[in-house]
Symmetry: none
Subunit: 146 residues, 2 copies
């Protein structure tokens, strides 16, 4: 019951391989994996690790990420927001900074959504983004918002 609903990774690989008109052994050689193992992978008997997947993708000349998505290793759920995805993917900031940015951005979104559904009543949110919630979550006791 754990098996993915559709298009197991193996079928996808085999499809790509047959479409490329190369044999199992050839692909295995090009990918640098053993052909028996590739056979098992294609039939779903074995579940390959990411490294093997990466090598197979290289041998197939397709993008690794396409395979990862097929394998369900990347939640390619629609990026709920480009900003969120970008912040999460950013490696130049620390985890805490990331957390702060995510919190602030989400509070912005929430505030705007509330204002939308309720109607044009901008005077109401006397404290739309309260520092307390942020402080409670993040350790930094900054964010004093006049």
């Amino acid at each position: 019951m754990e098996l993915p609903k559709v298009g197991s990774i193996g079928e996808y690989i085999r499809e790509q391989r047959t479409q490329a008109k190369i044999s199992l052994r050839q692909l295995a050689a090009q990918a640098g994996v053993s052909f028996p193992y590739l056979s098992q992978v294609e039939r779903g008997v074995r579940k390959p690790s990411a490294e093997i997947l990466n090598q197979i993708a290289k041998g197939l000349r397709i993008s690794s990420q396409a395979l990862y998505v097929q394998a369900g290793l990347i939640d390619e759920r629609q990026p709920d927001s480009d900003v969120l995805a970008a912040i999460r993917a950013d490696v130049t900031i620390t985890g805490r900074q990331r957390q702060v940015l995510l919190d602030i951005y989400e509070s912005f979104r929430k505030e705007n959504q509330a204002a939308e559904t309720e109607g044009a009543q901008p005077t109401q949110p006397a404290e739309p983004l309260d520092a307390a919630s942020l402080n409670g979550h993040a350790t930094s006791e900054g964010y004093n918002l006049p």
Copy 2:
């Protein structure tokens, strides 16, 4: 320059975890993996599979792809989505909110860069994110919202 010089994936995970100020067990619980194994992963004793990596990324609230890149499982350089561009392109926030996010993000970047070039203690900034720098840097008087 793009890729931060990181020895192993484990160090990166531990760095992100400690910066997020959560314990090993907490992250393990959030990620759905056992804490002893997570310990071994962080110290490089074990090499986690992609699924575990994915769960860790989820528990760590960072993008899976960032971890895959760190682990060397994705060598194709996909332009790690630019946070600044994403914020500028976002239409669900107001102009002032946008300005706030941009300011904060850039101050983070500047702070990290200063810490990098200057100090040889990247992991031990007693208060890397201090509210004073934010407020002092803020051009507009206060981040008051709509």
